[in-house]
């Protein structure tokens, strides 16, 4: 029973990947492809956020700032270091990880609401830094005319974002494989242990501070890569990414998708990116869509407090319970039978 469920899951994942790979052949329109690319970027940010928020239970509200650090690191490295855009994307990840380590220093000494305050303040700090250093960062104007991606003489601006689509999808796939690896490792297990019961985790030899530092560094990396790609793709770095709307949109992706899961936030990122765009294109709903999404989020969380992914997980858990009950019944029968036989 459990096996068939996990087989089921592999099938759904495989099907989703095949659909995603074939999508650009069906969807030729630049705008639609653009939405998919944005959705994939948000999916990376949301699923990596969930590593620190959902798996490790750190109330980290500075995650979108890691994304912003990636955006600016990529933009600045092309502008001032003349970095190749591919390298710039990677540098976005490195810079975000460094930012993660920086945030970890106070975070590993704090608990609960103070973690929220410090991480939130970190985002504001980076924003103020970007705004105040306008001769470098362009201030509120941002950085424009960032060079576009090129590979073997192919300019990615061609073919209606065909190439960009696959870079975005490829990065999301790599990030997801990486997350799966982390979550299933002993390190991932220790994160859940820490989240579940910190004191007990220490009593079982888990170094709390070190694991928190590591998870912030690790979860920031692909978030920064997503930011780097975002900058290279849009060819702009704008301070708006540090704003509250982006923060709450990505947070709702994590919460609606389900904390403590990888695929929940990814699915929610795709759904919410499209929902937000669709609603925005309806006459008069330009501003109201944020409210509609918020209402949808409340409704989902009311019925599924652990997010949409919990529907799936609940089925698996029920299966496990039924399975252990089945085994118990079978064993009892066996004992009864053998008792009957010996009589």
């Amino acid at each position: 029973m459990i096996r068939s469920l996990s087989g089921n899951r592999a099938f759904v994942l495989g099907a989703a990947l095949v659909i995603a790979v074939l999508m650009p052949f069906v969807v030729q329109d630049t705008y639609w492809r653009h939405l998919f690319i944005i959705a994939f970027i948000y999916a990376m940010v949301a699923s990596n956020w969930d590593l620190s928020l959902g798996y490790a239970g750190i109330f980290n509200f500075g995650h979108v700032a890691f994304f912003g650090v990636g955006v600016y690191a990529a933009a600045l490295s092309t502008k001032f270091l003349g970095a190749d855009p591919w390298i710039a994307i990677f540098l976005g990840g490195v810079a975000a990880s460094l930012a993660g380590a920086l945030v970890a220093l106070p975070v590993i000494r704090l608990k609960g609401i103070y973690v929220v305050l410090v991480t939130f303040a970190f985002g504001q700090l980076v924003l103020q830094l970007v705004l105040s250093q306008s001769e470098i960062t362009g201030g509120t104007q941002g950085i424009v005319r960032i060079p576009a991606l090129e590979a073997f003489g192919y300019n990615f601006l061609r073919d209606f974002k065909f190439g960009y689509y696959y870079v975005a999808l490829g990065l999301l796939v790599i990030s997801t494989i990486f997350l799966r690896f982390v979550v299933r490792s002993d390190f991932g297990m220790s994160l859940r242990a820490l989240r579940d019961n910190e004191e007990y985790a220490v009593a079982r030899g888990i170094p709390t501070g070190l694991q928190r530092l590591k998870v912030l560094v690790v979860s920031a990396f692909f978030t920064g890569v997503a930011g780097g790609f975002f900058a290279i793709y849009l060819r702009v770095a704008s301070p708006e990414i540090f704003g509250f709307p982006v923060q709450s949109l990505v947070l709702s992706m994590v919460l609606v998708g389900g904390t403590g899961t990888i695929y929940g936030p990814i699915a929610a990122a795709v759904i919410l990116t499209f929902a937000s765009e669709m609603l925005g294109s309806i006459e008069g709903l330009d501003e109201g869509r944020v409210m509609l999404i918020a209402v949808a989020m409340i409704i989902v969380l009311l019925f599924f407090p652990n997010g949409l992914a919990s529907i799936w997980r609940r089925r698996a858990q029920r299966a496990a319970l039924a399975d252990s009950a089945d085994k118990a019944v079978a064993e009892t029968r066996l004992i009864e039978n053998s008792a009957g036989a010996s009589r």
Binding site: D196, A201, I206
Partner: protein
């Protein structure tokens, strides 16, 4: 300056250990040795500082205000708590402690990996072995710990400690909340863990259990050592009887 652990066969030495909370002295100048391979019982009325003593020894959540703790020949009172656990001084808790969303088996694997320093495969083998040792029902090992019974969760807490092959296991009132047959089973379990080469310190209110398994007994009262020695003699000590105010449990 450090006493060698082999000098008198002591695995753990507490020297003048004290813990203050402002004006309150929860543990007051306590010294004792735990010998390698023994089961060392600790008794005392509520609030006598038994659990605080475990907290101090393991650094979870705090170490001593003063005094020295020597474990396997090394002073540990300033080590971070997780390092003490990794060094093989591992505790259980009086209240339920588990990783509720993790499966029963994962709960135990965690102890094998982080306390025992084992790699994946070896850790899983050690976890299976520890689950067997505590008599955990194998069919229920894939369930999340939150779906298990009180006794099963106690089994897990002990199994996750045993899986890391600790040198010393500190059991904090393991019999609390258990039924009589379960307490008897627990007594056998404690003895079998000791037979695996684990030295045990046992805090317990259930004196029948203490007297059944422990070789030496220390009684605390108001944070200080009241009596210390052969369990059957200690419980007859007049001061101990008075400290308990003639509680029925003492009259066996």
């Amino acid at each position: 300056m450090n006493a060698s652990p082999d000098q008198n066969g002591a695995l753990l030495q507490a020297r003048n250990v004290t813990r203050r909370f402002g004006e309150l002295v929860a543990v007051n100048d306590v010294s004792f040795d735990v010998l390698k391979g023994e089961i060392f019982g600790i008794a005392g009325p509520n609030g006598s500082g038994k659990s605080t003593l475990f907290n101090i020894l393991t650094g979870i959540p705090f170490g001593p205000s003063a005094g020295r703790i020597i474990f396997m020949g090394e002073e540990i009172q300033r080590l971070p708590a997780y390092r003490i656990s990794q060094a093989g001084l591992v505790r259980t808790f009086q209240k339920d402690a588990e990783f509720p969303t993790m499966t029963a088996r994962e709960n135990v694997v965690c102890g094998a990996v982080y306390c025992g320093g084992l790699r994946r495969d070896a850790a899983q083998a050690a976890a299976d072995d520890a689950l067997d040792a505590v008599g955990f029902d194998k069919r229920r090992q894939s369930l999340p710990a939150m779906d298990l019974s009180v006794y099963e969760r106690k089994q897990l807490m002990i199994a996750s400690a045993v899986a890391g092959s600790p040198a010393m296991l500190l059991l904090d009132e393991p019999a609390a909340g258990l039924t009589k047959p379960e307490i008897k089973e627990l007594g056998d379990l404690v003895l079998s863990i000791r037979d695996r080469g684990v030295t045990i310190v046992l805090i317990e209110h259930v004196l029948t259990l203490l007297l059944k398994v422990s070789e030496r007994l220390m009684v605390l009262n108001q944070g200080a050592v009241l009596a210390h020695g052969d369990p059957h003699e200690v419980v007859r000590d007049q001061r101990v009887v008075e400290a308990y105010l003639g509680k029925r449990e003492l009259v066996l």
